[in-house]
């Protein structure tokens, strides 16, 4: 088993059209997804990310954004999976996919793997 991280991306206004009840239902679906995974024994973790930040590039420090256009990186989730295929499969049921994309990467890649 290896650790995988999923970066949850979306546009700035992806959630702004939701009514309060819809927003809460969406939130509950996000939380339930992690809860179900944790219940199945997968040590799911993650963190929210601040909206603003700085980009350090040599001596030149600029404010974000780091990604193109109005797309924002809202947060990330870490899971365990046998390989990238399984990690992709796990993330493919995440409710965030109704609003944006998830970029899945392996954590701790040595670089010399086949």
């Amino acid at each position: 088993m290896a650790g995988y991280v999923g970066f949850l991306r979306g546009t700035e206004d992806a959630h702004t059209h939701l009514s309060p009840a819809e927003a809460q239902r969406t939130l509950e679906r996000y939380i339930d997804w992690s809860a179900a995974l944790a219940e199945a024994g997968n040590p799911v973790g993650g963190g929210g990310l601040s909206r603003r930040g700085r980009v350090v590039r040599g001596l030149d420090v600029t404010d974000g954004p780091f990604v193109e256009g109005t797309e924002i990186l809202g947060g990330f989730l870490t899971i365990e999976a046998a390989d990238l295929d399984e990690a992709e499969k796990i993330f493919s049921s995440h409710p965030h996919l109704d609003f944006g994309s998830i970029e899945v990467r392996k954590i701790g890649e040595q670089g010399c793997e086949p």
């Binding site: 009840a21 939130l27 509950e28 996000y30 992690s34 973790g45 963190g47 990330f76």
Partner: protein
Amino acid sequence: MVAGGGGRPPAPGATLPADTDSGGASAGRGVDNSRHVVEQLFRHSAGRITATLVRVLGPAHLDLAEEAVQEAMVRALQRWPFAGVPDNPSGWLFTVARNHLLGSVRHGEVVRAALPLLAAPEVVDDEPRGDDELALMFLCCHPELPQVSQVALTLRTVGGLGVNEIAAALLTQPATVAQRLVRAKRWLRTEAVRVVDVPAADALESRLDSVLSVLYLLFSAGYDAVEGDDVVRGELCAEAIRLCRLLCADPRTDRPRVRALLALMLLHGSRLAARTDAAGDLLLLAEQDRGRWDQGMIAEGVRVFGSACVGATRSAFHIEAAIALCHVGVATDWARIVGLYDELLAVKPSPVAALNRAVAAAMAGCLDPAELTRLRDEPALRDYHLLPAALGALWLRAGEPGMAAGYFREALTMRCSAPARRFLQRQLELCC
């Protein structure tokens, strides 16, 4: 389905983010999923936060308040799934909404002048005040607004429902609801209303009647029409009950007729889940499974009605609650119901009440045929499918299925909801 009161999360020990960009679990730490989001938290918080912000900013800036609330919910969506639900979620939402307003630079003079008020400690420390919601309710039900707009605006701002949900609940198009809201907000921006508060004593009684009419309509919209999303309709009834409770809880608006309306809604609401069968078809009172009636709501309704019967006034709500009380009893006393309808017709005449009286009279065995003829000539009932439906039911009871079938067929030619249509079909089959 109909639940009372908004769950207010515990306030003590709240950790509010001073800077909304801070917080978040560190990588690798397990996400805390043990805390569940309080039911209806967002909807109720949206109403309360909007109410407080509108009090501070003034009714002309309802849009800004709504935008701030929206921002707080979006932030929660982007944070809570990773960081866990904060200890005081509604306080968190309020702080984020307030900080969003304080941090925004494009405000006009009026808003800038109000900002120090928003930053005042009493606004920060507390959750939004309950009486702010009351004041917002009076604003939304302002008699200078058309009543359809009062209903939409109340649902949007105090009830925290979205345009699509309001349209589904009121069986109209989302575009129509949106247009009513835009017009209502435009009116709010005129100088007509400056202060958001519970009206002063001289205007209170008539303004309170406007609010009660809207709550009655809200409840009826949820209760009567069987089309549309059951969940939304149940929420509509629950929201009307919640708002009526707010009125009862404040000494300034706690009147016997307010309690009577609450009792009426509780007693009817207790039967909401039992009114349709598993297929969503309407059931007659006699066919309903009484085990599915909400006994807690009935008990509360009876208790509230008792507390409403003080003083000299006997409002239409009192009489309707008394009728509702008859229906939840073990055996229905039809003669008493006829007497109550007579009383109701004297206070608040309406063709529908007259029809209900006729049905009750038939059940009590004292129906005057001339009464039905009068109802047939009533223009307001010309397209009302329940009139021929009731006539059909009465003839069926009287052992005249041939006559009954004619009326059921007539009812089927009129506009009614799909479940009502299936109900009429079923009755028609009984006649053949």
